[in-house]
Symmetry: C2
Subunit: 207 residues, 2 copies
DNA sequence: GATCGTTTTGCAGTCACTGCAACTTTGCAG
DNA sequence: CTGCAAAGTTGCAGTGACTGCAAAACGATC
């Protein structure tokens, strides 16, 4: 029994991971992030505390549900775009695709996360702290597409801008979710694309 | 004895704070950030552990030496620029002024911090997590200058870009400090200003 | 069903961080 | 100088995140 598809073992692992993520978000939304202990989360997911830490390096990580495959996946997508696409566009599309997919898979989780992040915006920043490797991966992909030497700022800056765009978008979305999260990220990235030197004019109904 | 200048109390507080910051950075650079306990830091600075936490909310914060007055100071500077200055320029200058000043006051500390951040880049990200208030302050200042409603993305995005620029600059500076940190931040901010849509061309010796 | 690799678990330990209640120091006024 | 209030320091006891290790349970394989 070893179809490249998924063994029983793999399935169990995925379920456990999902259960822990889900329990963390649910409980945190219900009672507030720091009125929930890892012990309670583990109990809710029906595993030991030690197992929690086998899956997530920290409580923070579990709340955001950091997917270790997201980085590689996006990097691959960036490189897969046809050569005519600019690095910026490739990165932009890649980010948006990831977000759309994630929201399709777990919209309910994100609605709960929203509640938590409204109370504790710092958790979003902290979440990105652990993803330095992924950032490096993405930066390398962008750098390769742009034909730039590894030491160049541009790729790193673009990726950092992506994080910033995402953070801002989530924050905005948390306080008013009448616009889709993907839209907000897209809007923020566009601003980074065209440059921040000139502040947008204010007209009624504008964003 | 109460010149608005500084009382004995204030002077002592400043000295203690500086001693703790200094001890944290020095020890972390020497033995590695997580081979240093708060207990050791406190001992080095000749105060109790409890006092350490009266000054800094976390070990992370002490390492970066988060100055609680930096936010307000920069916000003030932004608003003080003549009305002809664009919000972007006001923000940019304000950030650069702060960095230059900080480096003039404590260049040696930053050289040690560099060592630590090279090993643990995540600490830089974490450091910004605690400065959500300051970011809000700056964003408000930018927003006022730009005459935008509080809900607009632009101010928040610009400030987030500033953090990103700073992070990238420090990272680069850590791996090669032949260029001044201020220069690197300036360069990164310029890229954000003119837009990331088009990747820069690569020519030898270029940055 | 014996065996091997993987995952789960418990346990003991370390360390960051907090609230509280005493104690010390500083600033000021009589 | 003395006494008093406010601010700052300290110790202590406690909570909870996180780690390493070694044993047990489990899944895959033959």
């Amino acid at each position: 029994m070893n179809q490249p598809g998924e063994s029983l073992r793999d399935r169990k692992k995925r379920r456990t991971r999902a259960a822990l993520e889900r329990a963390t978000v649910r409980l945190a939304a219900e009672r507030g992030y720091d009125h929930v202990t890892v012990e309670e989360i583990a109990a809710e997911a029906d595993v030991s505390v030690r197992t929690f830490f086998n899956y997530f390096a920290s409580k923070d990580e579990a709340l955001i549900g950091a997917d270790p495959e997201a980085g590689p996946r996006m990097a691959e997508r960036i490189l897969a775009f046809p050569g005519t696409t600019t690095p910026f566009e490739a990165y932009r599309s890649s980010v948006l695709a990831e977000i759309t997919e994630e929201l399709d898979n777990a919209r309910d989780l994100w609605l709960l996360r929203k509640e938590v992040l409204m109370q504790r915006p710092d958790l979003l920043v902290r979440a990105f702290a652990n993803s330095a490797e992924s950032e490096q991966l993405l930066a390398d992909a962008v750098g390769r597409r742009a034909g730039l030497p590894r030491s160049h700022v541009y790729p790193r800056l673009l990726v950092a801008a992506g994080s910033a765009a995402f953070r801002c978008a989530v924050t905005r979305w948390a306080s008013d979710d009448s616009v889709a999260l993907g839209e907000l990220v897209s809007e923020a990235l566009d601003l980074f694309g065209t440059g921040l030197a000139h502040a947008p004019r204010h007209h009624e109904g504008g964003s």
